[in-house]
Symmetry: C2
Amino acid sequence: MATSRRGRAKADSGPVSLEQIEREAVRLFSEKTYPVVGMRDISDAVGLLPGSLYVHIRSKEDLLLKIVERGVGSYLDALLPLAESTEPARDRLREAVLTYMHTLDATLAQTKVAVFQWRYLNEENRRQVAHLRQQYEDIFHKIVESGISSGEFTKPKNPKVTIFGLIGLLNSTMHWYSPEGGLSATEVGENLADLILDGLDAH
Amino acid sequence: MATSRRGRAKADSGPVSLEQIEREAVRLFSEKTYPVVGMRDISDAVGLLPGSLYVHIRSKEDLLLKIVERGVGSYLDALLPLAESTEPARDRLREAVLTYMHTLDATLAQTKVAVFQWRYLNEENRRQVAHLRQQYEDIFHKIVESGISSGEFTKPKNPKVTIFGLIGLLNSTMHWYSPEGGLSATEVGENLADLILDGLDAH
DNA sequence: CCTACCGATCGGTAGG
DNA sequence: CCTACCGATCGGTAGG
């Protein structure tokens, strides 16, 4: 016989760890979204029977919550230093865009789950996550506002639209960026920073 | 008794039309996403029993397909004239951003379904939709490329990143824009067009 | 970590 | 458009 358990997807390699379960869950959630991934899909991927997953996790909801929190946390860890820095806002913004792209490159699947699928959490867990998301958005808010008040940036009619636009532009990269694609995270970041800082117009 | 049928959500008003079903489906799919909306949610919303929906529609999948096709179609109808126009690229791009925002304002819920939930269609239907999506992206491709080759726009290191960025920026507005919010679609559009054309930097 | 199973819910249909 | 129902699948659990 090829394997010792039904449904095992990989060669036998000792007991299954929580990390393995979470890794497969991130992959499956990012590919197919939370509601259409069944616990049986996850158990198949790690080579357990469905009920055995509950030795390692408490619930499907819990699994999603941890992934979302780690996902947002990755960006907070990487970007928070740039919010407090005293460098020129232009440099900090460019650095933030590059840092965003490098974080995306390292955690693409986790990012897809964190940015869009927190909506499937229950109300209490969504509130937890809203806190983290707010901190994340505040980083860009601070950088842009400091550039406006220092005169480095042209004051937009409505800074909030500009900040939401900037965040939306960055978040949208996860729909087409791939580490295996022809463009490096740095190349994409430089290009987007150019667009945000200088615009398209040749004036 | 208050109503003549169980589960009826609204006052009795004659037979249910296909348009009513589609309207409630758009609302529910946009609020909760396709996989977590049951046919029973839709039938409750229009005041039918679940099985009776199939007098009007063929399947849940069919309902989604029609909504997605109409959603993308709204943008194609509004934006296609701008792809062929001979006006300066700067004017066409600003006009395209404003037209995008006005279309979003008129069809917000439908847009949310069309832009993100086509992934739940089966392979054959996804191929249909991919065609429409490609036409939509080509509009921005044409405008930006014509501005680059005419010298109106600074040539980006990689125009594809710029075009994907532009499309992503526009698509991301549906996550925070609301017709009931404090900002009009025109105000948002002007601000985003300023950002894309002139950037943040005061040079 | 498996065996065996639970109640709930899903999209959809036959027959009227 | 309703009545009555189908097989399939869902997240999760008791007991070992």
